[in-house]
Amino acid sequence: MHELLLLLFIFTLAAFLGFELISKVPSQLHTPLMSGSNAISGITIVGAIVAMLENPVGSIAFWVGFAAMVLAAINVVGGYIVTDRMLGMFKKKDKPAAKA
């Protein structure tokens, strides 16, 4: 029971933190913020690894974990790369403007 309460406590604090963290986002950053946070939601990959570690190779749970791992890895790797690409474009054009 203690553990459950602690988890809920953490969840609640994180929720407040999340709302405070991003107050006013310029619209230019809406897409990168979305795809960047989308990559973070791939943290479920940790759950997939745990599922693979806790279950013997060949068991159903292991293979379900394997599939979860593949999907989460798409989310994580793809999400970070695509966000980086997008932000790279934003950066690129700041330089000539600074020179001018």
Partner: protein, 483 residues
Amino acid sequence: MEAIINLAYIAAAILFIFGIKMLGKADTAKRGNLISAWGMGLAIVVTCINPDFGNKFLWIALAFIIGGGIGAFSAKKVAMTGMPEMVALFNGVGGLSSVLVGWAEYVRVFSAAHPDAPDLAAVSPEGTLTTADLAPHFSAFTMSVIFLAVFIGAVTFTGSIYAWGKLSGKLGGSAKTFPGQKAFNALLLLLTVGCGVLFPIFPDGQTGLLLLSLATLGSLLLGIFGVMPIGGGDMPVVISLLNSLSGLAAAAAGFVIVNNVLIVAGCLVGCSGLILTVIMCKAMNRTLTNVLFSGFGSTQSNQQVEGEMKPMTVDDAYYVLESARNVVFVPGYGMAVAQAQHVVKELAELLEENGAEVRFAIHPVAGRMPGHMNVLLAEADVPYEQLCEMDQVNPTMELVDVAIVIGANDVVNPAAADDPSSPIYGMPIINVHQARTVFALKRGKGAGFSGLVNTLFFRDNTRMIYGDAKATIAGLVSQFKDK
């Protein structure tokens, strides 16, 4: 060892927090993304510190390489115009992953409770153990959060896939409604949640298996039928809401495996997605409930408008533009569809050489995802200073000689400002109708996604230039170059 792992999780959570915070500011965004990637890397590496890791290293690496390879390949290959679809797909796979994490834990507990059963199907309907024996395995809390992870994750998955279908035009972009749709969806939700309530009470045996399966199926259907009645123009809201849900699904998976880093990271994503959703709703002056449930855009309005649409040729448009001193581009989804951002940038440069002041007015919900137009124009190298938000442009609109509307519709419909009977009345718009001349680039004479007649097109100062936006702009560019 346990302590080190947990300390590393705290460090990873801090990296995520800083990462998200920096993602919200222009000059730190790129670094913020990298920092959050380091957090992810740290979380993955310390999770692998486990006595069993040696035996399973190959399998874990294989799964990561397959998934990471697919992700990296598609992320590098995708065109900026395909970004909304890409984000929707990544969202979807993340959601499905949380579903599977929930299922894996259920199957693990199930197998532990039935060590003799060769497979799940062989378990008797009542289960082979008494309730007392089961108590430590099937804790009601774990079963409840498994349901939540499966529920939220599955809705995110099919919702995102359906949204992807709409965005890529495979399923038709408009809102789809059928009689009794709301009642149907409500019933579906009730049944799914009903299974979710019963599941922790009867988690074992075929009953438990059936309940969780039905809950999964119901959630998958809910995602589809939930997104179905939402029109293409409302996609920015849907995409950011699904983004928020994918975070909450990860947080629920964190409760399942009792892992703090999942809870914190998932919750942060849930919140940032929700904030974006609210921003998008405000930009349309609608509530989230209205966006999700009204079936907006499926009804055809029979509104009569006085006046007529006045077409104009590219040649005539050139002469007007040539003498213009103050030009504003208003891009919309049509620019993305026509992939016209590069020629638009070219035209903007030529206009500047010609001595005109050029700006781009971007409505918060223009396009199909939050910030869609900014991404496209950034790809075309349009200088940041030329991108203006709605509030900056509107007060100066009367000084604008020519406003060029490229495939935008509802976000420039004056009915939102002056027709209280219009469904979009009250939505903040870019007031292009106050400009001296408006060019509306449009493929045909049809209405916008909302099915509304755009009164802008009938105004005296509006000229319609029909045809593919890219071809039209390219025509103007070559006119400027020739003369």
